[in-house]
């Protein structure tokens, strides 16, 4: 009898979860991710006899995705609000330089990390200020700050990389030592999950989150409804900068050096991650889960192509084609349901 109820309840629960918009919306993107994983599992299994979806490899892929994924959390908020931030790669580079310079000056690791993140927040605040005060479109504003921030990074570093002394910061995204394998992922990846949940909650359940969607969907309507549009936009770019700063911290953890020439063009990967995950550059659409799936998809393609031993030009063509195909399929699906 009890079993019978449980048996009847289980599908109902499954159906309820299934019906939840969070999953439904990301079905297409998730299917794409699974498809590329299967594709490379089959290809690699058949041609090289190695398994792609084994735990060690998946752990590596998560570690490799973390930098783009952190930046994509911020970019999701910016894109949902109808904006764009091209300065993300430069902010990441500047953050690594600031962290390395602070460590070198003898600052404790935690302070250096905070300084790096604060740098990101500062850059984001500058973007927000320029976008709202000058009334120049964000594409142009952040195109400009991209160069400004990159220049500052090179200036601070005097056109070279800065070696940082060894500290626990470099362990945030390092392969786990044997005695800590029970953690499955290093701390940086867990931080990503934590922040992703926080941003998801922020977008779906807080007033700011709803305002972000309102501004992105129809700015004029939002203004007429009393949404403080300028303030929302400033908050959005500050958050974008914050997560770019955290991504910079993760980048430093991977490189162990401050690299002013690093992360060039990374903003495009970040934007692609958001868009593959269902974000719309017209604003008003996008989700945290989607952007994580998008970031993972891109890294799976990169790792898969790399392990297949394909030359880089093949890899670039494949990545480009998959981005366009993924987004086109998603739009097609939406047209079908609407």
């Amino acid at each position: 009898m009890v079993e019978g109820i449980a048996a009847a309840a289980a599908p109902r629960l499954a159906r309820r979860l299934w019906a939840s918009p969070v999953w439904r919306k990301n079905l297409g993107a998730a299917g794409g991710l699974v498809a590329v994983i299967i594709l490379f599992s089959v290809l690699l299994g058949a041609t090289r006899g190695i398994s792609f979806a084994d735990l060690g490899n998946l752990e590596t892929i998560f570690r490799q995705t973390t930098i783009v994924a952190f930046a994509a959390l911020g970019m999701t908020i910016v894109i949902v609000a109808g904006g764009i931030d091209l300065s993300v790669g430069a902010i990441i580079a500047l953050a690594t330089v600031v962290i390395a310079a602070c460590l070198r000056a003898g600052a404790p690791p935690a302070a250096a990390a905070l300084a790096g993140i604060a740098t990101g927040v500062g850059c984001g605040a500058l973007n927000g200020f320029l976008v709202t005060r000058l009334r120049v479109v964000p594409f142009i504003v952040t195109l400009g700050t991209m160069l400004v921030v990159r220049g500052i990074a090179k200036g601070i570093a005097r056109d070279q990389k800065i070696d940082g002394p060894k500290s626990w910061l470099t362990e945030l995204l390092a392969r786990l030592p044997a005695d800590r394998e029970w953690m499955v992922f290093p701390a940086g990846v867990w931080l990503l999950f934590l922040f992703a949940a926080a941003v998801g909650g922020l977008l779906l359940y807080t007033r700011l989150g709803r305002h972000v969607f309102a501004v992105g969907s129809n700015e004029e309507a939002a203004r007429l409804c009393g949404v403080p549009v300028a303030r929302v936009k400033r908050a959005v770019y500050v958050l974008g900068g914050l997560f770019a700063g955290v991504a910079g911290l993760m980048q430093f953890s991977r490189l162990t050096v401050g690299d002013p020439t690093g992360a060039i063009g990374l903003e495009l990967n970040v934007i692609a991650a958001v868009v593959i995950g269902g974000g719309s550059l017209a604003g008003g659409q996008g989700s945290v889960l989607g952007c994580l799936i998008g970031a993972l998809t891109m890294q799976v393609i990169q790792s898969g192509c790399s392990q297949m031993g394909w030359p880089n030009w093949v890899q670039e063509i494949v990545t480009g084609a998959i981005i366009v195909a993924a987004v086109a399929l998603d739009r097609f699906r939406h047209r079908g349901t609407a």
Binding site: W18, L27, G31, V34, A35, I37, I38, S41, V42, L44, G45, R48, G49, I50, S51, F52, A53, D54, G56, N57, T60, R63, Q64, I67, R158, D159, Q160, K161, D163, T170, A174, R175, Q251, R254, L255, T256, V257, D259, T261, G262, A263, I264, G265, Q302, S303, S306, Q307, G309, P311, N312, Q315, E316
Partner: protein
């Protein structure tokens, strides 16, 4: 319907994930700093030559974005997960690549560093040009051209670049053996771009200009970009050919300049030999043979008058197409 497809996909994914047994990949990974420069094409050719002669398989894979440290780290990580037999790496950074090289060695995958050094002692070998010797060759030749007396200057490359700093040191040591040669400038850095090096070159030439032309008789530049920039500055100001000028590395434009007499010599590395010896060091190590911790791949000075010899031509125009089947 959609649900059914989703389930099929999930099951397939699991099957694909667990179906294959973990095996090592029967290949040696060779990772350059980039893949588009001619220098790396030649290294690739050398590695391919070694693979064919020694009967091993190599996978040639550079960072997706040229000269991007993060991308190179990812490439190494992917090869670790593939359990390749060995990794032959030209590290983009002597520090940033250390953690991932340590990961490889912990996974019992030996690593040979080539072209540039890395700050760890755990690599099997370091296969690269002896840059100090290359600089010394340039210094000796310049002294010979000047008859052991005169004023010379050197335009440095960039601060913190280890290979060029070695060349600069070798050059200055060779010149120091000639008491009648005075080094009038050796503290200017051209920087990483040809453009910045061009500006610095012009400033240097202006600073050493007298009423009847240049007051220096000899110039040395430690790499391709500084040598090319200096060459352009000399040509623009009409000094080309009136001063003894030695560069490092080669490019079609530098070969032209040598033919025209605008340049007197250049020191070239042997990238094909570098790729060959790097792979050979790894193969020797895997077969249990002893391998030297440091392997010199040679630097050769090519003077103007000897540039048409077959040996010089092989170095100036490496025949990489033969091995890459392009």
């Amino acid at each position: 319907m959609k649900r059914v497809t989703a389930w099929i996909i999930a099951v397939l994914a699991l099957a694909a994930g667990t179906g294959c047994k973990k095996k090592t990949t029967d290949a040696i990974a060779v990772i350059p700093k980039g893949t588009t420069h001619e220098f790396w094409k030649s290294v690739h050719a050398g590695a391919e030559k070694a693979a064919q002669e020694l009967g091993v398989k190599i996978i040639w894979k550079g960072p997706l974005r040229e000269d991007d440290r993060e991308d190179q780290i990812k490439v190494v990580e992917n090869f670790i997960n593939m359990h390749v037999k060995g990794i032959v790496l030209a590290p983009l950074d002597d520090t940033a690549l250390v953690p991932v090289v340590t990961d490889a060695i912990n996974a019992r995958i030996p690593v040979v560093a080539f072209d540039s050094g890395i700050k760890t002692d755990d690599t099997v070998s370091f296969v690269a040009t002896d840059n100090a010797r290359g600089g010394k060759l340039a210094g000796d030749h310049l002294a010979k051209l000047l008859g052991g007396k005169g004023k010379v200057m050197m335009l440095r490359y960039a601060e913190g670049s280890a290979s060029t700093a070695e060349r600069e040191r070798g050059f200055l040591e060779a010149i120091a053996a000639h008491p009648d040669i005075e080094v009038v400038s050796h503290n200017q850095y051209g920087g990483v771009t040809t453009e910045s090096a061009f500006k610095v070159s012009e400033n240097l030439l202006t600073a050493h200009k007298g009423p009847g032309g240049l007051t220096v008789q000899g110039i040395f530049c430690p790499n391709e970009s500084t040598a090319f920039a200096m060459l352009r500055a000399l040509e623009d100001n009409g000094f080309a050919g009136k001063v003894r000028f030695i560069g490092f590395d080669s490019s079609p434009k530098m070969v032209d300049a040598m033919a025209k007499g605008h340049m007197d010599a250049t020191v070239v590395q042997d990238p094909i030999k570098m790729g060959y010896l790097a792979v050979k060091a790894m193969v020797d190590h895997l077969q249990g043979k002893p391998v030297d911790k440091r392997v010199d791949t040679g630097a050769t000075l090519i003077a103007r008058d000897a540039m048409t010899s077959p040996e010089a031509q092989a170095l100036l125009n490496p025949d990489f197409k033969r091995w890459l089947k392009e």
